[in-house]
Amino acid sequence: MKGLFCQLLLGFVVLPVSCGMAIASDSEWELSGNTALQLRGFSQDALWPGQNTSDAEVSVSGEWEARWRSEEGDQRGSFIPFARWDENDDERTHIDLREAYWANEGLFYKGTKIELLVGINKVFWGVTESAHLVDIINQTDLVEDIDQEDKLGQPMVNLALQHDWGLVNVYLLPYFRERTFPGRDGRFRSPLPVDWDDAEYESGAEEKHMDFALRYSHYFGDVDIGAYYFRGTSREPRLELASNGRELTPFYDQIDQVGLDVQYTRDAWLWKLEALLRDGYDESFMATVAGFEYTFYQVYESNADIGMLMEYQYDDRSSQEPITTADNDVFLGARWSMNDTQDTALLAGVVVDKDTSETFFNIEAERRIGDNVVVELRVRAITNAESDEPLYSFNQDDYIQLQISRFF
């Protein structure tokens, strides 16, 4: 098993050590990952010309994780390739390096502990559930899921400075990752497909523009807070009609952005706020997601918990900016956790646009089978989308998805 994995690692020729050496030494390797079979069934025929006419879609994915820690424990590394094959959409069939980094935590400067991380990594910022507004370091791997929670690995140099008064992170991001978009055959696409391999940039340096981010995070009693400044290439593209008139071309602007995330935790309440101010292509704009989560524990004397969620999404960007659907929307959700041996859980939510009544339904359920298999069911649907609204593009893409994942 280990030998096989090492051959795989060597195949990628990324880690500077041979597997035999690494395993023979006292440093530690942890190997894990999962493979998954995903089946999607669509309730309606595809809307746009060129899309695959099949109502079903089979897809297979794998993620392999190799983690290393030095004998002294102060250095670590990570190597996580990801791959997906999709029967219908060539663009969804893709590979990515989610992580490939080396980090040294044993550095000190004037009594402050510093960690230096070099390589590809994933970083998450934020507190809300219905949208991840302030999260900006990693590009969205949109072909994976329209919920935008899947991210592409981001090359970076990261310095983390832990003080008594909080954590300061400095990020230098030397290479930009283009957002993935479904191909002509795929579901969940705009009327014209996006030719994302042919992106255009405001910066002359294009994807080699050096982006920068500085973040502070800490907590004060019941309040957790994070704030950051980002300068560089917008992760959200504007989509322009390509010169051939048959495709859309992503255009990435240079932006300045400040972001804030706050959570107040009291009793069974979580109060959450994310907000950002962005100076980009058109004018500067602000956006926010704010709300709460309240949990009823051991409902009706069972072991189950039920959490109620409500969030409001607001965004005052102009129509010249990249399109957002979260401009004046209310999210209502419920989370049911059985707290059983199989960790059965269900999350149901609905997002309603207050201006247009566009409504997005989402149900996610999951349960472990045995020790190593997880079965996950998702149902997503859109109603009330008018033809001039962004969600209308996905209007006939209501679907049910069954995923069976084997972990190792």
């Binding site: 894990s32 502990k113 979580l270």
Partner: protein, 283 residues
Amino acid sequence: MKRRNFFSAAFASVLRLSVVGALGASQLLLSPVMAATSEESMPDQVKGFDIAARSDRSDRGFGDSEAEMTMVLRNAAGEEASRSMRFTTLEIPDESVGDKSLVLFSTPRDIEGTALLSHAKMLDPDDQWLYLPALKRVKRISSRNKSGPFVGSEFAFEDFTASELNKFSYTYLQQEACGELLCDVVERIPRYENSGYTKQLAWVDTTDYQIRKIEFYDRRGSLLKELKFEDYRKYGDSYWRSHRLIMRNLQTNKSTDLVYGEYTFGVGLTDNDFVKGRLARLR
């Protein structure tokens, strides 16, 4: 993809797995006399508190510790499932603040890398952060859920957390044999809010002052669970740790065993190892 959601709620409470090996352990060492002044006229209560305090004191000064633990869950039909985790604890010398602890799961594999950081408090709710590796997300969680099950086991969150001396009021009942030892039997009633228990009975041996057994009585006053502490081993001069805890639910016939590996003391941990910024850097 790794699982994203379930843990947020499943974990929504206090956890101090770190001290479960020595339920008598605590940072808070009220002088027994001080705490008992209001109960002076009731000698059984003073004696009960003294027994608990003596057990508690036997664990003072351990500094920090680290251990691997396997949790074996058994249903009424005898079917088993297991979880494994590593936990580290930092003792905080200041008696007005609680210990800090970190739990890192390694199995089941779909939750591998999930971690929970706790800063225990005395009277206020604990501060807790959960790390969800699939999103690499750190989430502050509520510590309101005392009586809910911990990761589907027969252990409630409060079974791990309620180890501080002053979280209970005590009454001495009697002395009786417990295996080869002699035990003091002490009744303890939770003083904290939202407990699932009306009372507990604890058997504390008179030789090493360690807890050997606890009975838990539910909100209706019926016997709910029985916890046995086995395989006590002594570290250094005075630190006892049970390496096998067996919790049996007498109403459902389900049970959960906690099996500990060797403890390591003096790891050299500091406050910086127990900050939320560490959670994404544990593996």
